[in-house]
């Protein structure tokens, strides 16, 4: 039987198979952050066991950190305590720790690729569901719970049944102003938030081949939002070019050896999947969500669907629209908004800031909008400055904050107030996700920028036709 990309990587990491049970699954690289690790370290302490491979483990602070005045002590005592715990635990176990102020600090899924921790054919886990991001490199990467963080710290393995396989093909060329975020929101709107539960997804076809590494990361990042444990894209020249020379990537002979392996990482022509779906790139337009899960998305020129058009779940749908204070059938375009958030592991990379800047250039931030622009890492922040993007943003009335997860999950002070609407480039529009009572509309950096300068939900194409991008 011919293998899929997923089979090749999965099967080569099985230490041991348990009959009628999970595989003992080896993890090449483990990313650790402050929120989901302290109880795992406590577990090691209680069992009196060390971290087995600290050199395969990397720690950063991102979820629970302020995005202003990072040079000052963290004001919230609980947050400070959690950061302190990670720093101490890392030091005790010999794990590299890139805390606040460190040049490599940033969102865990942004800094992994930046530093060459993320590699094709590797297995990567983190106590965070958006670990799926790293699948952009042809890695098997997925989020785990804290018990599993403890397993990986202590044994570099988890117990995991092999998921089923799904391939999502999208061929053709993307329309004007359609970004990787729109592609992902489109897929999720078709599959719903549970449509890929139990599966690991491979994205294939022209659209993903033609996408930048940043774009592939955005797509793979959102795999979890359709229920998939992860998503991956076969590595190609673009991938190898991105990885080469990065600090933790193989070098010299080790690079050549790795390349020999990486070039075998593709799905064989006659391999089969448990499920296969195909969409047409031409059908996708800039997307926006109107409800309280990422599957409730629509093309920006469409109206909010009628409950009767749905296949069941009417009560839950109506509850969701009531939370948003939206009505069935009305236009999403033109809705007044209050906040714009550009950032997160979904859209906090340099390409996202370039896209945002391309629209706000020569315009002004709308007076009714509070905008939080949060780079995914210090490296992204540096690039924003080096490329002159910061000047464009400042001229348009925007400020840049310091790196972190920020308003994506609002663990820090970056909370959208109750009842307010935010157009957000992040990944979840759940009730209260961005602050108790907050209302989130997920969208691409282009849609976010269009909202930021007009103060309402605006089709970015209307602004882009007036200037070249």
């Amino acid at each position: 039987m011919s293998n899929t990309l997923f089979d090749k990587v999965w099967d080569s990491h099985v230490v041991k198979k348990i009959e009628n049970g999970p595989d003992v699954f080896f993890i090449d690289r483990h990313l650790v952050h402050e929120v989901t690790s302290p109880v795992a370290f406590l577990g090691l302490k209680n069992r009196n066991i060390p971290v087995l491979y600290p050199e395969r483990t990397f720690a950063t602070a991102d979820h629970n950190t302020p995005t202003i005045n990072q040079h000052l002590p963290v004001a919230d005592p609980l947050s400070a305590n959690q950061l302190d715990a990670l720093e101490k635990n890392s030091a005790e176990h010999g794990i590299p720790y890139w805390g606040l102020g460190h040049e490599k600090n940033g969102i865990v899924h942004v800094i992994g690729p930046e530093n060459g921790i993320t590699l094709p054919g590797a297995t990567i886990v983190c106590g965070d569901s958006h670990t799926s991001t790293h699948g952009a490199f042809g890695a098997i990467a997925f989020g785990i719970g804290t018990s599993e963080v403890e397993m990986v710290l202590s044994t570099q393995c988890i117990m995991q049944p092999k998921p089923k396989s799904m391939r999502i093909n999208i061929n053709g060329n993307l329309n004007f102003a359609v970004t990787p975020k729109d592609v992902a929101l489109y897929i999720i709107s078709k599959l719903t938030t549970s449509g890929a539960t139990g599966y690991f997804v491979e994205y294939a076809g022209d659209v993903f081949k033609n996408m930048s590494m940043e774009g592939r990361m955005t797509v793979c990042n959102l795999s979890i939002e359709m229920g998939a444990r992860g998503g991956m894209i076969a590595p190609d020249e673009k991938t190898f070019e991105y990885v080469k020379g990065r600090e933790f990537a193989p070098k010299g002979q080790a690079w050549d050896k790795a390349m020999t392996y990486w070039e075998t990482l593709y799905t064989e022509n006659d391999a089969t999947f448990d499920k296969e779906l195909t969409f047409d790139a031409a059908d996708i337009e800039p997307m926006i969500t109107y409800g309280t899960n990422p599957g409730m998305g629509t093309g920006i020129s469409n109206g909010i669907p009628m409950a009767e058009s749905l296949d069941g779940g009417v009560a839950t749908y109506k509850k969701s629209l009531a939370y948003m204070d939206f009505n069935e059938g009305e236009d999403i375009k033109g809705k007044q908004i209050d906040f714009v958030f550009l950032g997160s592991c979904t859209n906090g990379r340099i390409e996202d800031f370039r896209a945002f800047a391309s629209i706000v250039k020569g315009r002004k931030k709308a007076a009714n909008v509070t905008a939080w622009l949060v780079p995914g890492s210090h490296r992204v922040e540096d690039a924003i400055k080096e490329e002159g993007i910061l000047d464009v943003l400042q001229e348009a009335g925007f400020e840049l904050r310091e790196p972190g997860c920020s308003a994506c999950l609002a663990m820090n002070d970056d909370k959208i107030p109750a009842g307010k609407y935010a157009v957000s480039t992040s990944n979840r529009n759940f009730e209260g996700r961005q602050g108790p009572g907050s209302r989130t509309l997920l969208a691409s950096p282009l849609v976010a920028a269009a909202a930021a300068v007009t103060g309402k939900v605006t089709d970015p194409r209307e602004l882009m036709e007036l200037q070249s991008v």
Binding site: V24, T36, L78, D128, E148, T193
Partner: protein, 198 residues
């Protein structure tokens, strides 16, 4: 962390007939700042359960004294979203030992199994029957029999099989966890690690 053994659980149940209950609802991110596994039950369904001034929302099921028990029954796609194990901890810490739904999100299901909360997936029809039975009598009891992999609505005798892999079943009935297993095969793991190219 080892947990209580799970064999047969007979209990009344708390109904939450909402679909796509995500882990941000089960426990909002602002309550994830602890460094120990303590007290998460207090914030289970925090924003559905309490107003912003911390007074209870009387219409929410956990604030309705007629419903109680060790089994939580949720709508389909229960536990979607974030990987936070804190969600499973909150469910456990509140006093639930079993969650019943017609569909679970992967990571939440795994987290539950790892801490001793049994996720029981039933058919949509059986889920409806459970909700109907609880609606008719809030004290109605369910019996979850892990060794036999069955769930029964005791008042009507209606019963359904559910699936769980043998390994996890064995773990739960004995109160073992995966780390116990992994530590026993550590030498195999070390040998395997030496063969990895990076």
């Amino acid at each position: 962390m080892a947990y209580d053994k799970f064999n047969i659980l007979k209990s009344s149940a708390v109904p939450l007939p909402i679909e796509n209950v995500d882990t941000d609802q089960i426990i909002p991110a602002r309550f994830l700042k602890a460094t120990e596994r303590k007290g998460f039950g207090d914030n289970l369904f925090r924003d559905w359960r309490y107003n912003s001034d911390n007074t209870p929302k009387e219409q929410f099921v956990l604030n309705n004294p007629i419903y109680s028990g060790k089994i939580l029954v949720g709508g389909k796609n229960f536990g979607s979203g974030s990987s936070r194990e804190h969600a499973a901890w909150a469910v456990y810490d509140y006093g639930f030992r079993c969650v019943v739904s017609s569909f679970f999100a992967d990571i939440f299901r795994g987290n539950c199994l790892n801490i001793g909360v049994l996720p029981v997936q039933v058919s949509p029809e059986f889920l409806d029957k459970i909700f109907t039975a609880i609606e008719a009598d809030p004290n109605t009891e369910l019996e979850v029999n892990l060794p036999e992999e069955t769930i029964t609505i005791l008042v009507t005798g209606e019963k359904e099989k559910f699936g769980i892999n043998e390994y996890k079943k064995d773990n739960m009935t004995n109160g073992f966890d995966d780390i116990d297993y992994l530590l026993n095969v550590k030498e195999d793991i070390k040998t395997f690690a030496e063969s990895r190219p990076f």
